[in-house]
């Protein structure tokens, strides 16, 4: 049907309805007239006859309603009538409406945001064809780190995947001939695009036929976004040669716009063949089986009909084969399949999001309880109106429908407002780049699913709180109420309303408790001992491979860099650590360590797997790590001298029993060489703030040169000036070397980001809980004061003290607050396990948290009862008694 015709039919329906109503009206009038005619004939006056006829007929409104119903198809009519009436009623009490809509908007908004994020992170498949059969492999608890050789075996020996692709991260200096800048991308196996079934936007992708052994495929594929920003959509870019870390690569294609790789948080700027990674990064990862750095994730489509457990068994069988064949280099860990996108973080993210969704659900429940209480109070206030309507012949069903319409109307308006707010917030989150230096983004975009869920929740909650006053209406006795007025009785008995309020306060107390626990946990981990001092330290990260250095040039150049830093005025100490400094990018590497006497060096007989940081002399002083025993490393600990290492306290105690025992002793590493412990430093955090204390070793960087390193520059000068000096010094050394500078504190923000986000979201939910409990208590207290104004006035007139008046007016609200808070606090403590999985070092049995919650809830109570209390105290009994 076209629009004008539809509108016409709608109009016709409308006018037809008006005419019907008029018709009905006239018919009933005619009936009464005829009856009156008859009565008049029997001798009464016309007026008396008409009055009599009307009385005989009974409630006309009811008859009309029943007629409407009898005609059927009037559901929409009634709905429209109800909606109009509801709007009128809501307009009459704007403060109630605003409060209700606001409360619901908040709750629905919170749910929509959490759902939107959950949808983006967990529910929505990646932007690739047939994501449902695409699985990634995860080894043990590690985020899928495996070596290239293991990948090749897995690819060739499994029977359950159609094909397996793998990728690794690649951070390179990309030089188009103008200025070299750091770009981050993926080094992928040649079959990567074929496995993912994506097709190029421009040019072509590389494939298996391009690959003929190490460094055979110098091809580059750009992501659409990078092509757009760095190459300004230049279609002539295909076939151009650019320098990756001083090696020529040919750009052969551009990926389609919606292709963002297979990781949710990180999208690559470019893709290059993994066989060429050695050429670019200077580290041969293709031929080392024992490494954990070769491959980040291995994934592929399952063959049709293969189930996940079958594939897992298959992968584990290959793992068992590898362990048997390469006992020295491969330790079997049970492998699982995970959806690609979150790799092994999936479990934690899922758990956190589920927890958050649960809390958001609690918020909604609290809001419903809050609104249910408000509606019950409103229905009580309107009992006179309800009674009148009942007396005039309206059906109870109709009145209930009316009340429910009102509730649903509020819920829809509130839901819409909340949804709009959440869409704005989600949109912002999706373009938010918390770290300009790192290619991280939140893959959220609100879609129809979010809208539907939000509106469904709104409707559901509308029915939920709309249903609260039902019993009240059903039990209304019109005769009693019309006769006695609406003052009603004020019983000592706890009503449904009280229960709702106590329940709501309990929920809010749970939320407040959980946010306090989270805050406290966060605070604790911020102040925990990191094992270094991030303040006043600047991290200068370089990768010498990007400027073409390799082999023995590396330590020489690094030494020169350290000395150059030392000449900068105001710089106190300079140290260097290979790859990344502790806690950066969660990128620590581990080493297998054996006892000195062990001869069978298979991974299973390792005594420890400490983190390994190759550091320069002075590193510990620059980083602010305390030396507990022995000596620091020095410039003579180089390739020509025996292998030595500094270890941390935990390592010393685990392997040698005590700190003093450790100095001078030996341990063995994977390649069989003996390493002497020369010093012991304090413990610290290495991968994450949540980790248990881990062992760590610090061999001298001169004994195992690597191109990528972080310089630690300690200075109390303004970091920006220091950074500028650092850059100019390094430019003097080599103008073609890309340099990143950042304070250590700023870099830690990245590590703390998930915890910060978790704490923030819990904090926001806690604040929402607090707001809800304020409105709930306020509503209840204000209502009870207004209901009992007269009684309070009389009490005052009879000489009651202020304290007694307050007790009468607010006693119940305070009692409910106490009961609710206690229940909530207990529940919060019980929920500690859930919380501990969300926020680390979270324990609600912390006295600070307990007193904090009690204080917060009492403060909220005070705040919420303040205005009603003032009102109760300012009653002038004379005016009141005169008025009524």
């Amino acid at each position: 049907m076209n629009l004008p015709a539809y509108l016409r039919s709608l109009g016709a329906k409308f006018f037809h309805r008006l005419q019907l109503a008029e018709d009905m009206e006239e018919e009933l009038r005619s009936h009464i007239q005829h009856r009156a005619d008859d009565l008049e004939r029997s001798g009464v006056s016309r007026a008396e006859a008409e009055r009599h006829a009307r009385i005989e007929f009974g409630g006309q409104e009811r008859v009309k309603e029943e007629c409407h119903e009898a005609m059927g198809g009037n559901f929409l009519d009634t709905l429209q009538q109800d909606a109009r009436f509801a709007l009128r009623m809501l307009r009459k009490s704007p403060s109630f409406t605003v409060l209700a809509v606001g409360t619901l908007a908040l709750a629905i908004g919170a749910n929509a945001v959490v759902f939107g994020v959950m949808d983006g992170l967990i529910l929505r498949p990646l932007n690739i064809p047939q994501p449902e059969s695409l699985w990634g492999t995860v080894y043990g608890e590690d985020p899928g780190f495996q070596s290239y050789l293991n990948y090749v075996d897995l690819r060739d020996r499994n029977h359950t995947f159609e094909d397996l692709a793998a990728f690794n991260f690649a951070f390179v200096g990309l030089d188009t001939g103008e200025d070299p800048t750091v770009a981050s991308g993926f080094a992928t196996t040649a079959n990567y695009f074929d496995v993912l079934r994506v097709h190029p936007y421009l040019g072509r992708f590389y494939g298996r036929s391009d690959e003929h052994g190490p460094n055979s495929a110098p091809y580059l594929v750009l992501s659409y976004a990078y092509w757009h920003s760095r190459f300004q959509d230049d279609r002539g870019v295909i076939g151009r040669t650019v320098q990756l870390n001083k090696h020529p690569f040919t750009i052969i294609g551009v990926a389609p716009p919606d292709f963002r790789g297979t990781l949710l948080f990180i999208s690559p700027e470019f893709l290059m063949p993994i066989v060429n990674q050695e050429q670019v990064e200077g580290q041969d990862l293709l031929n080392t089986r024992g490494t954990t750095h070769g491959v980040f994730e291995v994934f592929g489509h399952l063959k049709p009909g293969v189930t996940r457990p079958q594939a897992e068994a298959d992968v584990n069988a290959v793992g068992a084969y590898l362990e048997k064949t390469y006992p020295k280099e491969f330790a079997q860990k049970s492998a699982t399949l995970q959806r690609v996108g979150l790799t092994s973080f999936g479990g934690a993210v899922r758990q956190f999001m589920t927890g958050l969704m649960l809390l958001a659900g609690l918020i909604l429940l609290a809001a419903c309880a809050n609104l249910g209480g408000l509606f019950a109070a409103r229905a009580a206030d309107r009992s006179r109106e309800v009674a009148l309507r009942l007396a005039l012949g309206s059906s109870r069903q109709r009145i209930l429908r009316q009340l429910l319409t009102e509730a649903v109307l509020i819920s829809l308006v509130g839901g819409t407002v909340g949804l709009i707010g959440s869409i704005v917030l989600l949109r912002r989150m999706s373009v938010w780049q918390p770290f300009p230096a790192a290619p991280l983004h939140l893959p959220v975009s609100p879609d129809a699913k979010t809208y539907v869920v939000a509106l469904a929740l709104a409707l559901l909650s509308g029915f939920l709180f709309g249903i609260v006053p039902v019993r009240q209406v059903l039990r209304t006795n019109p005769y009693e109420i019309v006769k006695a007025g609406s003052s009603g009785r004020i019983g000592r008995r706890f009503t449904v309303r009280d229960l709702l309020l106590a329940g709501q306060i309990a929920i809010c107390a749970v939320l407040v408790t959980s946010s306090m626990v989270a805050l406290r946990g966060m605070m604790r981990s911020l102040h925990s001992n990191l094992g270094f001092e991030p303040r006043n330290a600047m991290l200068v990260s370089t990768n010498l491979a990007m400027a073409g250095y390799s082999g023995d040039q590396l330590p020489m150049m690094q030494k020169r860099m350290i000395h150059a830093m030392e000449t900068i005025p105001g710089v106190e100490r300079v140290g260097l650590v290979n790859n990344y400094a502790p806690l950066l990018y969660a990128a620590g590497s581990r080493a297998n360590v054996f006892k000195e006497e062990t001869t069978d060096l298979k991974p299973a007989s390792a005594v420890a797997r400490p983190y390994r940081y190759d550091v320069s002399p002075e590193y510990f002083r620059a980083a602010g790590t305390a030396l507990l025993a022995g000596r620091d490393l020095n410039w003579h600990d180089d390739k020509g001298s025996p292998a030595v290492a500094v270890v941390n306290r935990d390592f010393a105690i685990k392997i040698f029993g005590s700190v003093t025992n450790a100095v001078g002793r030996y341990f063995k590493v994977q390649d069989g060489s003996r390493v002497q412990v020369v010093g012991v430093v304090e413990d610290g955090k290495y991968m994450s703030l949540t980790e248990d204390q881990e062992p760590a070793i610090f061999p001298p960087f001169l004994q195992s040169p690597t191109s990528a390193s972080d310089l630690v520059v300690r200075s109390s000068r303004d970091p920006q000036q220091v950074a500028a000096d650092v850059r100019s010094q390094l430019r003097q050394l080599d103008a073609g070397l890309p340099v990143d500078t950042a304070t250590w504190t700023a870099q830690l923000d990245l590590v703390l980001f998930p915890a910060r986000m978790a704490t923030m979201s819990l904090g926001v939910l806690g604040i929402m809980g607090a707001i809800l409990s304020i409105t709930g208590i306020f509503g209840m207290a204000a209502y009870s004061v207004s209901k009992r104004l007269r009684e309070l006035g009389i009490r005052q007139a009879l000489g009651a003290q202020r304290k007694e008046v307050l007790q009468t007016a607010l006693g119940r609200a305070v009692k409910l607050l106490a009961i609710g808070s206690t229940a909530g606090l207990l529940l919060g403590v019980l929920a500690s396990r859930v919380l501990a999985s969300i926020v680390y070092s979270a324990t609600p049995r912390d006295p600070v948290v307990l007193t904090g919650v009690v204080l917060a809830m009492s403060l909220l109570g005070l705040l919420a009862t303040w205005i009603p209390a003032r009102r109760a105290l300012s009653i002038d009994p004379l005016i009141l008694l005169r008025e009524d």
């Binding site: 006239e26 005989e56 009974g58 009811r62 009898a70």
Partner: protein
Amino acid sequence: MAEQAQLLPGTLDLLILKAVSLGPLHGYGVLLRIGQISREALLIEQGALYPALFRLVRQGLLKASWGTSENNRRAKFYELTTAGRKRLQEETDGWNRLASAIASALKARPEEV
């Protein structure tokens, strides 16, 4: 006035159809006619009449048109449609069968069992 009988559920529609089948009537007229043909034994509540009339119109058993009554007032007159006539016949037969069955059942004596 004769003693009044309770109206069985569902019989109101039948009575209305019967009343209207004797000639077009307006609402009040239907009431009077039912009273008349039941010898004042059946009294219809005024309020219950109209919903029933509207229901029958919707079912297509009655049709309505405005006209002028014997009192010279505007009134809405109802008359049977063909479907209404048919339905009246069916319902009458049904009712008669039921009534005679119940009557014979109630007349039963112990020796007949």
